[in-house]
Symmetry: C2
Subunit: 270 residues, 2 copies
């Protein structure tokens, strides 16, 4: 191993969309890179802000794409939210503005969710706001009434949009904005990347010291910022949403430890 | 007329909900007050930020409640929006995030609306965002795509919530917040109260000089603020959302010209 990245790090925290795959296709070289990492006793964790699928669904997707993966190798913002809620209070009651996989993931972690509107405003401790393609006025009003009655207002991820084939669609920032507009309150916490709760959860799953971990991702404001905030090495890959000159364009002053053309360069970065 | 308000003003701009009626019942004294104003050659205009009904529907409501009213005695944020759009460009194409009466009112003013999703992103000049109890992800995404392609982002009213029997429900600020969250852009203009476009439209309909006009309403941050901004007299009535001590509670430094227990006090304020 005369390669600097491979010599320095034991734990590889890999973003999924834009880093390992794009939509339903692996990024060229991702498979070989991950196989090489595993063959050389590196620890790998996949990390996504998307609460649209469960860990099991993400593991199945990777497995089908040729990378055999177990659910506990995946960390999503849904899982970080479940950790967060369980640490806040015992048996919190939650109203979810989100899709079914998020509800499933919370319930799997022992959190009770109430989705019947007639009960929401009486009992709810937390309104969990997430990327929700089934968002509507009824959910907005349910969340609003619960927060008005004293429920905490928390969110899975702060992404403005989500890339889809041919473009992008509104992500969790839209649902957060709607609730903030109606309540006049700022969301209290967004647990997903770049929040420290996510990196803490990732390190705890990887069981490596932070000096031996590296985050590899395609988004400056989530993957790279989280690395910076946590004092953990990061590598920006240019296979996703970020182009090389985006730092100067957006006036961003922090930098990743490495900039790689793609995940494949892990094997060759010297 | 030894009454100061009656002696000073010729044009009375009356807010509706909380000032003239509450839900479906007239505020006690409203009928006699308005009859007195009209019998004494005062001009009356009803002004509401709500885009949920057309002028005709509001006129019918007042008529049924015993105050015979014609549509051109009503000014809504929908009508102000129609004026605004027609002044901006000739024949603008508009995508509406709002309910049918707003679409009807815009079309009545000659504005072409496009509501078919497959056409929206190609042709739309303006995305008009309004209080919409039928808001959903599809509308959010349609508006987002249109703004991304260059459509202007404008809104009817900035109210956070709308009072309903037994409480309040999310108003236009929620829809604005959702679009702002997804696009990362601030709404360019909110034409309803307290914007000067609304008071200009009101004065032009009333045909009175601003020194001879007074705004009477129950909301500090719309009715009273608009009066302050425009240099027009205002009277706060305490029959709606505002209580007497709300100014100090909310740290608001401006004051209405008059504070009245109810609209009825117009006849007795000395």
């Amino acid at each position: 191993m005369d390669n600097k990245i491979l010599a320095t790090y034991d734990g590889f925290i890999l973003d999924l969309d834009g880093t390992v795959y794009l939509g339903n296709e692996l990024i060229p070289g991702a498979l070989e890179t991950i196989e090489y990492l595993k063959a050389n006793n590196k620890k790998v964790l996949y990390l996504t802000n998307k609460p649209l699928e469960t860990r099991e669904q993400y593991a199945n997707k990777l497995t089908k794409l040729g990378i055999p993966t177990k659910p506990d190798e995946i960390l999503t913002s849904s899982v970080v939210m479940a950790h967060y809620l369980n640490r806040q209070s015992s048996g919190p009651l939650v109203y979810v503005i989100g899709e079914q996989p998020l509800i499933d993931e919370l319930q799997l972690a022992g959190i009770k969710t109430i989705q019947q509107p007639e009960l929401i405003e009486f009992a709810v401790d937390y309104v969990v706001v997430a990327f929700d393609r089934t968002f509507d006025y009824k959910k907005l009003n349910n969340g609003f009434q619960a927060i008005k009655k004293g429920a905490r207002f928390v969110a899975t991820n702060g992404d403005r949009t989500c890339p889809v084939p041919g473009g992008e669609i509104p992500d969790c920032a839209a649902m957060i904005g709607a609730l903030e507009g109606a309540t006049g309150k700022k969301v209290e916490i967004i647990v997903g990347k770049p929040h420290r709760l996510t990196i803490e959860a990732a390190l705890s799953l990887l069981k490596v010291e932070k000096e031996r971990a590296i985050i590899i991702g395609d988004r400056i404001e989530t993957d790279i910022l989280m690395g910076k905030n946590a004092g953990i090495a990061s590598a920006l890959v240019l296979t996703g949403i970020t182009k090389k000159d985006d730092f100067s364009k957006k006036g961003i002053t922090y930098r990743p430890t490495y900039i790689l053309d793609s995940i494949k360069q892990i094997l060759t970065a010297g």
